[in-house]
Symmetry: D2
Subunit: 138 residues, 4 copies
Amino acid sequence: MIYKRTVNYYETDRMSFVHHSNYIRYFEEARVWILEQFGLPYADIEKRGILIPVLGVNVKYMRYLTFGDNIDIDTWITKFSGVKMSVGYEVSKNGETAAKGESSHCFLEAGTFRPVNLKTEHPDIYEAFSLMAEKTKK
Amino acid sequence: MIYKRTVNYYETDRMSFVHHSNYIRYFEEARVWILEQFGLPYADIEKRGILIPVLGVNVKYMRYLTFGDNIDIDTWITKFSGVKMSVGYEVSKNGETAAKGESSHCFLEAGTFRPVNLKTEHPDIYEAFSLMAEKTKK
Amino acid sequence: MIYKRTVNYYETDRMSFVHHSNYIRYFEEARVWILEQFGLPYADIEKRGILIPVLGVNVKYMRYLTFGDNIDIDTWITKFSGVKMSVGYEVSKNGETAAKGESSHCFLEAGTFRPVNLKTEHPDIYEAFSLMAEKTKK
Amino acid sequence: MIYKRTVNYYETDRMSFVHHSNYIRYFEEARVWILEQFGLPYADIEKRGILIPVLGVNVKYMRYLTFGDNIDIDTWITKFSGVKMSVGYEVSKNGETAAKGESSHCFLEAGTFRPVNLKTEHPDIYEAFSLMAEKTKK
Protein backbone atom coordinates (compact mmCIF):
# COMPACT_ATOMS: atom_id res chain seq x y z
CA MET A 1 0.00 0.00 0.00
CA ILE A 2 1.23 3.44 -0.82
CA TYR A 3 1.66 6.21 1.73
CA LYS A 4 1.90 9.66 0.13
CA ARG A 5 3.92 12.54 1.47
CA THR A 6 5.45 15.85 0.45
CA VAL A 7 9.02 16.69 1.47
CA ASN A 8 9.31 19.56 3.96
CA TYR A 9 11.89 22.32 3.74
CA TYR A 10 13.30 21.54 7.19
CA GLU A 11 14.02 17.97 6.07
CA THR A 12 16.66 19.07 3.56
CA ASP A 13 20.30 19.75 4.41
CA ARG A 14 22.88 22.00 2.87
CA MET A 15 23.69 19.43 0.18
CA SER A 16 20.21 20.59 -1.02
CA PHE A 17 18.54 17.20 -0.58
CA VAL A 18 16.59 15.37 2.11
CA HIS A 19 18.95 14.41 4.93
CA HIS A 20 19.40 10.62 4.91
CA SER A 21 18.21 10.26 8.53
CA ASN A 22 14.76 11.52 7.57
CA TYR A 23 13.98 8.45 5.47
CA ILE A 24 13.87 6.51 8.74
CA ARG A 25 11.21 8.97 9.90
CA TYR A 26 9.29 8.62 6.64
CA PHE A 27 9.37 4.84 7.14
CA GLU A 28 7.87 5.29 10.60
CA GLU A 29 5.12 7.51 9.21
CA ALA A 30 4.35 4.91 6.52
CA ARG A 31 4.34 2.11 9.10
CA VAL A 32 1.96 4.00 11.38
CA TRP A 33 -0.24 4.80 8.41
CA ILE A 34 -0.45 1.23 7.16
CA LEU A 35 -1.33 0.01 10.66
CA GLU A 36 -4.17 2.51 10.67
CA GLN A 37 -5.39 1.27 7.25
CA PHE A 38 -5.80 -2.19 8.82
CA GLY A 39 -7.69 -0.93 11.85
CA LEU A 40 -4.65 -0.93 14.12
CA PRO A 41 -3.91 2.69 15.07
CA TYR A 42 -0.58 2.60 16.88
CA ALA A 43 -1.92 4.91 19.61
CA ASP A 44 -4.56 2.23 20.34
CA ILE A 45 -1.94 -0.53 20.36
CA GLU A 46 0.02 1.51 22.93
CA LYS A 47 -3.17 1.91 24.98
CA ARG A 48 -3.42 -1.88 25.06
CA GLY A 49 0.03 -1.82 26.68
CA ILE A 50 2.02 -2.98 23.66
CA LEU A 51 5.14 -1.28 22.34
CA ILE A 52 6.64 -2.06 18.92
CA PRO A 53 10.28 -0.93 19.16
CA VAL A 54 12.67 -1.04 16.24
CA LEU A 55 15.33 -3.77 16.39
CA GLY A 56 17.04 -2.85 13.17
CA VAL A 57 16.74 -0.73 10.08
CA ASN A 58 18.51 -0.45 6.75
CA VAL A 59 18.19 1.96 3.85
CA LYS A 60 19.68 2.02 0.37
CA TYR A 61 19.64 5.50 -1.17
CA MET A 62 19.30 5.61 -4.94
CA ARG A 63 18.00 9.00 -6.05
CA TYR A 64 17.89 12.36 -4.34
CA LEU A 65 14.74 13.88 -2.95
CA THR A 66 14.28 17.53 -2.16
CA PHE A 67 11.85 20.13 -0.83
CA GLY A 68 8.40 19.99 -2.40
CA ASP A 69 8.84 16.52 -3.91
CA ASN A 70 5.70 14.42 -3.81
CA ILE A 71 6.81 10.97 -2.80
CA ASP A 72 5.16 7.56 -2.66
CA ILE A 73 6.21 5.10 0.01
CA ASP A 74 5.15 1.59 -0.89
CA THR A 75 4.95 -0.28 2.42
CA TRP A 76 4.40 -3.94 3.13
CA ILE A 77 4.92 -6.59 5.79
CA THR A 78 7.89 -8.78 4.88
CA LYS A 79 7.67 -11.10 7.92
CA PHE A 80 5.26 -11.56 10.81
CA SER A 81 5.33 -14.29 13.44
CA GLY A 82 3.33 -12.81 16.30
CA VAL A 83 6.62 -12.26 18.13
CA LYS A 84 8.53 -10.33 15.50
CA MET A 85 7.70 -8.34 12.39
CA SER A 86 9.60 -6.84 9.48
CA VAL A 87 8.37 -4.10 7.19
CA GLY A 88 9.62 -3.26 3.69
CA TYR A 89 9.61 0.19 2.11
CA GLU A 90 10.20 1.54 -1.36
CA VAL A 91 10.27 5.31 -1.74
CA SER A 92 9.64 6.65 -5.22
CA LYS A 93 9.14 9.96 -6.99
CA ASN A 94 7.38 10.15 -10.33
CA GLY A 95 7.54 6.37 -10.58
CA GLU A 96 11.31 6.19 -10.08
CA THR A 97 12.69 4.43 -7.02
CA ALA A 98 14.53 6.83 -4.72
CA ALA A 99 15.25 4.49 -1.80
CA LYS A 100 14.54 1.04 -0.44
CA GLY A 101 14.60 -0.11 3.14
CA GLU A 102 13.42 -2.50 5.78
CA SER A 103 12.80 -2.29 9.51
CA SER A 104 12.49 -5.13 12.01
CA HIS A 105 10.50 -5.01 15.22
CA CYS A 106 9.41 -7.00 18.22
CA PHE A 107 6.40 -6.60 20.51
CA LEU A 108 6.97 -5.63 24.15
CA GLU A 109 4.76 -5.08 27.15
CA ALA A 110 4.84 -1.42 28.20
CA GLY A 111 6.39 -0.90 31.61
CA THR A 112 8.00 -4.32 31.99
CA PHE A 113 9.51 -4.47 28.46
CA ARG A 114 8.73 -8.20 28.50
CA PRO A 115 8.44 -9.76 25.00
CA VAL A 116 4.82 -10.30 23.99
CA ASN A 117 3.49 -13.14 21.82
CA LEU A 118 0.51 -11.59 20.06
CA LYS A 119 -0.88 -14.99 18.97
CA THR A 120 -1.50 -16.18 22.53
CA GLU A 121 -1.79 -12.89 24.40
CA HIS A 122 -3.66 -10.62 21.96
CA PRO A 123 -5.26 -12.90 19.35
CA ASP A 124 -7.39 -10.12 17.85
CA ILE A 125 -4.30 -8.01 17.18
CA TYR A 126 -2.52 -11.11 15.88
CA GLU A 127 -5.34 -11.67 13.37
CA ALA A 128 -5.24 -8.07 12.19
CA PHE A 129 -1.46 -8.17 11.68
CA SER A 130 -1.75 -11.53 9.88
CA LEU A 131 -4.34 -10.08 7.53
CA MET A 132 -2.14 -7.05 6.90
CA ALA A 133 0.83 -9.34 6.18
CA GLU A 134 -1.22 -11.37 3.72
CA LYS A 135 -2.84 -8.42 1.97
CA THR A 136 0.40 -6.49 1.50
CA LYS A 137 2.48 -9.51 0.44
CA LYS A 138 4.64 -8.92 -2.67
CA MET B 1 27.60 31.23 31.55
CA ILE B 2 28.64 30.07 28.15
CA TYR B 3 27.64 26.73 26.64
CA LYS B 4 29.82 25.75 23.69
CA ARG B 5 28.64 23.75 20.71
CA THR B 6 29.58 22.91 17.14
CA VAL B 7 26.91 22.99 14.42
CA ASN B 8 26.09 19.58 12.94
CA TYR B 9 25.60 18.92 9.23
CA TYR B 10 22.09 17.57 9.75
CA GLU B 11 21.09 20.86 11.39
CA THR B 12 21.50 22.84 8.17
CA ASP B 13 18.84 23.15 5.48
CA ARG B 14 19.06 23.73 1.77
CA MET B 15 19.44 27.49 2.26
CA SER B 16 22.89 26.32 3.50
CA PHE B 17 22.41 27.54 7.06
CA VAL B 18 21.17 26.16 10.37
CA HIS B 19 17.41 25.69 10.18
CA HIS B 20 15.76 28.25 12.46
CA SER B 21 13.93 25.58 14.49
CA ASN B 22 17.24 24.18 15.70
CA TYR B 23 18.04 27.28 17.76
CA ILE B 24 15.19 26.21 20.05
CA ARG B 25 17.01 22.90 20.49
CA TYR B 26 20.31 24.65 21.15
CA PHE B 27 18.54 26.71 23.82
CA GLU B 28 17.31 23.52 25.45
CA GLU B 29 20.83 22.07 25.43
CA ALA B 30 22.19 25.26 26.99
CA ARG B 31 19.44 25.27 29.63
CA VAL B 32 20.09 21.65 30.56
CA TRP B 33 23.79 22.37 30.69
CA ILE B 34 23.48 25.41 32.95
CA LEU B 35 21.22 23.46 35.34
CA GLU B 36 23.95 20.85 35.55
CA GLN B 37 26.59 23.50 36.29
CA PHE B 38 24.53 24.48 39.35
CA GLY B 39 24.15 20.91 40.58
CA LEU B 40 20.65 20.48 39.14
CA PRO B 41 20.86 17.81 36.41
CA TYR B 42 17.47 17.84 34.69
CA ALA B 43 17.31 14.03 34.77
CA ASP B 44 17.54 14.25 38.58
CA ILE B 45 14.85 16.95 38.70
CA GLU B 46 12.60 14.62 36.69
CA LYS B 47 13.38 11.79 39.12
CA ARG B 48 12.11 14.06 41.90
CA GLY B 49 8.83 14.15 39.95
CA ILE B 50 9.18 17.68 38.60
CA LEU B 51 8.72 18.65 34.95
CA ILE B 52 9.79 22.03 33.55
CA PRO B 53 7.71 22.48 30.38
CA VAL B 54 8.12 25.42 28.05
CA LEU B 55 5.33 28.00 28.16
CA GLY B 56 6.75 30.23 25.49
CA VAL B 57 9.80 30.91 23.42
CA ASN B 58 11.04 33.64 21.13
CA VAL B 59 14.09 34.00 18.92
CA LYS B 60 15.51 36.89 16.93
CA TYR B 61 17.85 35.74 14.15
CA MET B 62 20.65 38.13 13.30
CA ARG B 63 23.47 36.27 11.53
CA TYR B 64 23.62 32.94 9.78
CA LEU B 65 25.24 29.89 11.26
CA THR B 66 26.32 26.88 9.30
CA PHE B 67 27.93 23.44 9.52
CA GLY B 68 31.12 23.33 11.54
CA ASP B 69 30.63 26.71 13.19
CA ASN B 70 31.79 26.83 16.78
CA ILE B 71 29.14 28.72 18.67
CA ASP B 72 28.85 30.18 22.15
CA ILE B 73 25.47 30.27 23.84
CA ASP B 74 25.49 32.72 26.72
CA THR B 75 22.70 31.57 29.03
CA TRP B 76 21.22 33.20 32.09
CA ILE B 77 18.12 33.24 34.27
CA THR B 78 16.05 36.33 33.52
CA LYS B 79 13.28 35.62 36.08
CA PHE B 80 12.69 33.06 38.80
CA SER B 81 9.88 33.01 41.33
CA GLY B 82 9.76 29.40 42.43
CA VAL B 83 6.61 29.00 40.34
CA LYS B 84 7.87 30.27 37.01
CA MET B 85 11.25 30.85 35.36
CA SER B 86 12.54 32.57 32.27
CA VAL B 87 15.88 31.96 30.61
CA GLY B 88 17.76 34.28 28.24
CA TYR B 89 20.10 33.17 25.47
CA GLU B 90 22.57 34.92 23.21
CA VAL B 91 24.15 32.83 20.49
CA SER B 92 27.41 34.15 19.05
CA LYS B 93 30.12 33.08 16.66
CA ASN B 94 33.58 34.63 16.79
CA GLY B 95 32.25 37.22 19.22
CA GLU B 96 29.45 38.38 16.91
CA THR B 97 25.86 37.89 18.01
CA ALA B 98 24.00 35.48 15.75
CA ALA B 99 20.71 35.20 17.65
CA LYS B 100 18.99 36.19 20.86
CA GLY B 101 16.11 34.49 22.56
CA GLU B 102 14.19 33.77 25.73
CA SER B 103 12.15 30.85 26.98
CA SER B 104 9.62 30.84 29.83
CA HIS B 105 8.75 27.84 31.96
CA CYS B 106 6.69 26.63 34.87
CA PHE B 107 7.21 23.73 37.26
CA LEU B 108 4.74 20.83 37.20
CA GLU B 109 4.30 17.62 39.12
CA ALA B 110 4.89 14.62 36.83
CA GLY B 111 1.78 12.52 36.33
CA THR B 112 -0.76 15.02 37.69
CA PHE B 113 0.62 18.08 35.82
CA ARG B 114 -0.27 20.11 38.93
CA PRO B 115 1.72 23.40 39.25
CA VAL B 116 4.51 23.11 41.78
CA ASN B 117 5.78 25.88 44.05
CA LEU B 118 9.45 25.05 44.53
CA LYS B 119 9.83 27.41 47.50
CA THR B 120 7.38 25.51 49.69
CA GLU B 121 7.52 22.03 48.16
CA HIS B 122 11.17 21.59 47.20
CA PRO B 123 13.14 24.24 49.14
CA ASP B 124 16.53 22.72 48.27
CA ILE B 125 15.79 22.99 44.56
CA TYR B 126 14.41 26.47 45.12
CA GLU B 127 17.70 27.50 46.73
CA ALA B 128 19.74 26.08 43.88
CA PHE B 129 17.64 27.88 41.27
CA SER B 130 17.81 31.11 43.26
CA LEU B 131 21.58 30.87 43.39
CA MET B 132 21.72 30.19 39.66
CA ALA B 133 19.47 33.20 39.02
CA GLU B 134 21.70 35.43 41.13
CA LYS B 135 25.00 34.18 39.74
CA THR B 136 23.96 34.46 36.10
CA LYS B 137 22.25 37.86 36.46
CA LYS B 138 23.17 40.41 33.77
CA MET C 1 -6.82 29.41 6.13
CA ILE C 2 -6.41 26.13 7.91
CA TYR C 3 -3.55 23.71 7.31
CA LYS C 4 -4.27 20.22 8.63
CA ARG C 5 -1.69 17.85 10.00
CA THR C 6 -1.33 14.74 12.13
CA VAL C 7 1.35 14.56 14.82
CA ASN C 8 4.11 12.02 14.12
CA TYR C 9 5.56 9.69 16.73
CA TYR C 10 9.09 11.00 16.22
CA GLU C 11 7.90 14.52 17.05
CA THR C 12 7.13 13.62 20.66
CA ASP C 13 9.69 13.60 23.47
CA ARG C 14 9.89 11.66 26.68
CA MET C 15 7.53 14.07 28.44
CA SER C 16 5.04 12.25 26.11
CA PHE C 17 4.12 15.37 24.13
CA VAL C 18 5.26 17.12 20.96
CA HIS C 19 8.65 18.70 21.55
CA HIS C 20 8.25 22.48 21.59
CA SER C 21 10.78 22.99 18.77
CA ASN C 22 8.52 21.11 16.37
CA TYR C 23 5.85 23.82 16.42
CA ILE C 24 8.32 26.01 14.55
CA ARG C 25 8.47 23.27 11.89
CA TYR C 26 4.69 23.02 11.78
CA PHE C 27 4.57 26.79 11.25
CA GLU C 28 6.94 26.43 8.31
CA GLU C 29 4.79 23.69 6.80
CA ALA C 30 1.69 25.86 7.19
CA ARG C 31 3.47 28.86 5.67
CA VAL C 32 4.65 26.85 2.68
CA TRP C 33 1.15 25.43 2.28
CA ILE C 34 -0.60 28.80 2.39
CA LEU C 35 1.84 30.20 -0.20
CA GLU C 36 0.90 27.29 -2.44
CA GLN C 37 -2.82 27.98 -1.97
CA PHE C 38 -2.22 31.47 -3.39
CA GLY C 39 -0.26 30.22 -6.39
CA LEU C 40 3.14 30.92 -4.84
CA PRO C 41 4.90 27.57 -4.33
CA TYR C 42 8.01 28.34 -2.30
CA ALA C 43 10.13 26.13 -4.60
CA ASP C 44 9.08 28.41 -7.49
CA ILE C 45 9.89 31.54 -5.48
CA GLU C 46 13.37 30.09 -4.85
CA LYS C 47 13.71 29.40 -8.58
CA ARG C 48 13.04 33.10 -9.16
CA GLY C 49 16.10 33.73 -6.97
CA ILE C 50 14.22 34.90 -3.88
CA LEU C 51 14.80 33.58 -0.37
CA ILE C 52 12.43 34.26 2.53
CA PRO C 53 14.51 33.74 5.67
CA VAL C 54 13.08 33.94 9.16
CA LEU C 55 14.03 37.05 11.14
CA GLY C 56 12.19 36.10 14.27
CA VAL C 57 9.70 33.70 15.71
CA ASN C 58 7.68 33.38 18.88
CA VAL C 59 5.39 30.70 20.25
CA LYS C 60 3.07 30.56 23.25
CA TYR C 61 2.26 26.99 24.29
CA MET C 62 -1.16 26.49 25.84
CA ARG C 63 -2.18 22.83 25.58
CA TYR C 64 -0.22 19.66 24.96
CA LEU C 65 -0.25 17.81 21.68
CA THR C 66 0.80 14.23 21.23
CA PHE C 67 1.21 11.41 18.73
CA GLY C 68 -1.78 10.85 16.47
CA ASP C 69 -3.43 14.18 17.26
CA ASN C 70 -5.14 15.77 14.29
CA ILE C 71 -4.30 19.44 14.44
CA ASP C 72 -5.50 22.53 12.63
CA ILE C 73 -3.06 25.36 12.01
CA ASP C 74 -4.91 28.56 11.21
CA THR C 75 -2.43 30.68 9.25
CA TRP C 76 -2.64 34.26 8.09
CA ILE C 77 -0.50 37.20 7.00
CA THR C 78 -0.26 39.73 9.82
CA LYS C 79 1.91 42.27 7.93
CA PHE C 80 3.22 42.62 4.40
CA SER C 81 5.10 45.56 2.95
CA GLY C 82 6.89 44.06 -0.05
CA VAL C 83 10.10 44.22 1.96
CA LYS C 84 9.03 42.37 5.08
CA MET C 85 6.25 39.99 6.04
CA SER C 86 4.86 38.54 9.24
CA VAL C 87 2.72 35.43 9.54
CA GLY C 88 0.40 34.47 12.40
CA TYR C 89 -0.43 30.92 13.48
CA GLU C 90 -2.96 29.36 15.81
CA VAL C 91 -2.67 25.63 16.40
CA SER C 92 -5.77 23.90 17.68
CA LYS C 93 -7.03 20.41 18.41
CA ASN C 94 -10.72 19.62 18.55
CA GLY C 95 -11.44 23.34 18.44
CA GLU C 96 -9.29 24.17 21.46
CA THR C 97 -6.26 26.40 21.01
CA ALA C 98 -3.01 24.54 21.71
CA ALA C 99 -0.50 27.23 20.68
CA LYS C 100 -0.20 30.64 19.08
CA GLY C 101 2.75 32.09 17.28
CA GLU C 102 4.12 34.53 14.76
CA SER C 103 7.10 34.55 12.43
CA SER C 104 8.67 37.54 10.69
CA HIS C 105 10.54 37.43 7.41
CA CYS C 106 12.33 39.49 4.81
CA PHE C 107 12.96 38.85 1.13
CA LEU C 108 16.53 38.33 -0.07
CA GLU C 109 18.20 37.73 -3.38
CA ALA C 110 19.72 34.24 -3.49
CA GLY C 111 23.51 34.30 -3.75
CA THR C 112 24.05 37.95 -2.84
CA PHE C 113 21.66 38.01 0.17
CA ARG C 114 20.75 41.55 -0.87
CA PRO C 115 17.31 42.70 0.42
CA VAL C 116 14.66 42.55 -2.27
CA ASN C 117 11.70 44.94 -2.64
CA LEU C 118 9.02 42.79 -4.22
CA LYS C 119 6.89 45.80 -5.21
CA THR C 120 9.48 47.21 -7.58
CA GLU C 121 11.49 44.11 -8.47
CA HIS C 122 8.88 41.36 -8.69
CA PRO C 123 5.49 43.09 -9.02
CA ASP C 124 3.63 39.88 -9.90
CA ILE C 125 4.83 38.23 -6.69
CA TYR C 126 4.04 41.43 -4.79
CA GLU C 127 0.45 41.30 -6.08
CA ALA C 128 0.06 37.66 -5.09
CA PHE C 129 1.36 38.31 -1.56
CA SER C 130 -0.86 41.39 -1.25
CA LEU C 131 -3.89 39.35 -2.22
CA MET C 132 -2.94 36.65 0.28
CA ALA C 133 -2.52 39.30 3.00
CA GLU C 134 -5.95 40.74 2.23
CA LYS C 135 -7.77 37.41 1.95
CA THR C 136 -6.36 35.99 5.16
CA LYS C 137 -6.79 39.18 7.21
CA LYS C 138 -8.38 38.65 10.65
CA MET D 1 38.49 5.99 17.73
CA ILE D 2 35.83 7.00 20.17
CA TYR D 3 33.54 9.97 19.73
CA LYS D 4 31.84 11.02 22.96
CA ARG D 5 28.38 12.51 23.20
CA THR D 6 25.59 13.16 25.66
CA VAL D 7 21.98 12.40 24.68
CA ASN D 8 19.78 15.49 24.36
CA TYR D 9 16.21 15.70 25.66
CA TYR D 10 14.82 16.52 22.23
CA GLU D 11 16.29 13.29 20.88
CA THR D 12 14.00 11.11 22.99
CA ASP D 13 10.47 10.12 22.01
CA ARG D 14 7.43 9.24 24.06
CA MET D 15 8.63 5.64 24.50
CA SER D 16 11.13 7.48 26.80
CA PHE D 17 14.20 6.52 24.76
CA VAL D 18 16.27 8.01 21.95
CA HIS D 19 14.27 7.85 18.71
CA HIS D 20 15.88 5.28 16.42
CA SER D 21 16.37 7.80 13.60
CA ASN D 22 18.76 9.82 15.77
CA TYR D 23 21.41 7.10 15.75
CA ILE D 24 21.90 7.90 12.07
CA ARG D 25 22.60 11.49 13.10
CA TYR D 26 25.01 10.35 15.82
CA PHE D 27 26.82 8.29 13.18
CA GLU D 28 27.16 11.39 11.02
CA GLU D 29 28.56 13.37 13.94
CA ALA D 30 31.06 10.59 14.66
CA ARG D 31 32.06 10.40 10.99
CA VAL D 32 32.61 14.15 10.77
CA TRP D 33 34.57 14.04 14.00
CA ILE D 34 36.86 11.21 12.92
CA LEU D 35 37.57 12.99 9.61
CA GLU D 36 38.61 16.01 11.63
CA GLN D 37 40.93 13.89 13.82
CA PHE D 38 42.78 12.89 10.62
CA GLY D 39 43.11 16.45 9.35
CA LEU D 40 40.14 16.19 6.98
CA PRO D 41 37.45 18.60 8.23
CA TYR D 42 34.38 17.86 6.13
CA ALA D 43 33.77 21.59 5.59
CA ASP D 44 37.23 21.76 3.96
CA ILE D 45 36.49 18.71 1.81
CA GLU D 46 33.31 20.45 0.62
CA LYS D 47 35.36 23.58 -0.14
CA ARG D 48 37.55 21.41 -2.38
CA GLY D 49 34.33 20.61 -4.29
CA ILE D 50 33.87 17.08 -2.98
CA LEU D 51 30.65 15.71 -1.54
CA ILE D 52 30.44 12.43 0.40
CA PRO D 53 26.80 11.36 0.17
CA VAL D 54 25.42 8.31 1.94
CA LEU D 55 24.61 5.34 -0.30
CA GLY D 56 23.30 3.11 2.45
CA VAL D 57 23.04 2.75 6.17
CA ASN D 58 22.06 0.03 8.61
CA VAL D 59 21.63 -0.04 12.37
CA LYS D 60 21.02 -2.83 14.85
CA TYR D 61 19.54 -1.59 18.13
CA MET D 62 20.48 -3.58 21.21
CA ARG D 63 19.98 -1.47 24.32
CA TYR D 64 18.00 1.66 25.00
CA LEU D 65 19.55 5.07 25.40
CA THR D 66 17.87 8.01 27.01
CA PHE D 67 18.28 11.67 27.98
CA GLY D 68 21.51 12.46 29.77
CA ASP D 69 23.26 9.22 28.85
CA ASN D 70 26.94 9.64 28.12
CA ILE D 71 27.64 7.52 25.08
CA ASP D 72 30.76 6.37 23.28
CA ILE D 73 30.66 5.89 19.52
CA ASP D 74 33.56 3.75 18.38
CA THR D 75 34.07 4.65 14.72
CA TRP D 76 36.31 3.10 12.10
CA ILE D 77 36.75 2.78 8.34
CA THR D 78 35.59 -0.66 7.20
CA LYS D 79 36.40 -0.16 3.49
CA PHE D 80 38.11 2.53 1.41
CA SER D 81 38.97 2.35 -2.28
CA GLY D 82 39.31 6.00 -3.26
CA VAL D 83 35.95 5.71 -5.01
CA LYS D 84 33.84 4.34 -2.17
CA MET D 85 34.09 4.16 1.60
CA SER D 86 32.29 2.37 4.41
CA VAL D 87 32.31 3.34 8.05
CA GLY D 88 31.49 1.14 11.05
CA TYR D 89 30.01 2.33 14.33
CA GLU D 90 29.48 0.81 17.75
CA VAL D 91 27.52 2.86 20.26
CA SER D 92 28.00 1.95 23.90
CA LYS D 93 27.03 3.19 27.33
CA ASN D 94 29.01 2.26 30.42
CA GLY D 95 30.91 -0.26 28.34
CA GLU D 96 27.78 -2.08 27.12
CA THR D 97 26.98 -2.07 23.41
CA ALA D 98 23.75 -0.21 22.66
CA ALA D 99 23.82 -0.28 18.86
CA LYS D 100 25.95 -1.24 15.90
CA GLY D 101 25.83 0.14 12.40
CA GLU D 102 27.56 0.84 9.13
CA SER D 103 27.23 3.51 6.46
CA SER D 104 28.51 3.39 2.88
CA HIS D 105 29.49 6.41 0.82
CA CYS D 106 30.85 7.53 -2.50
CA PHE D 107 32.72 10.69 -3.49
CA LEU D 108 31.07 13.14 -5.87
CA GLU D 109 32.03 16.41 -7.50
CA ALA D 110 29.85 19.23 -6.17
CA GLY D 111 27.64 20.76 -8.84
CA THR D 112 28.02 18.02 -11.46
CA PHE D 113 27.51 15.07 -9.06
CA ARG D 114 30.10 13.21 -11.14
CA PRO D 115 31.84 10.33 -9.26
CA VAL D 116 35.30 11.30 -8.10
CA ASN D 117 38.32 8.97 -7.83
CA LEU D 118 40.31 10.43 -4.94
CA LYS D 119 43.44 8.43 -5.83
CA THR D 120 43.91 10.13 -9.21
CA GLU D 121 42.08 13.42 -8.68
CA HIS D 122 42.88 14.34 -5.07
CA PRO D 123 45.93 12.24 -4.06
CA ASP D 124 46.52 14.19 -0.83
CA ILE D 125 42.98 13.47 0.35
CA TYR D 126 43.38 9.85 -0.79
CA GLU D 127 46.48 9.51 1.38
CA ALA D 128 44.73 10.97 4.41
CA PHE D 129 41.76 8.63 4.02
CA SER D 130 44.09 5.66 3.51
CA LEU D 131 45.92 6.51 6.71
CA MET D 132 42.63 6.85 8.56
CA ALA D 133 41.50 3.46 7.20
CA GLU D 134 44.74 1.84 8.33
CA LYS D 135 44.87 3.46 11.75
CA THR D 136 41.27 2.68 12.64
CA LYS D 137 41.32 -0.90 11.30
CA LYS D 138 39.80 -3.51 13.63
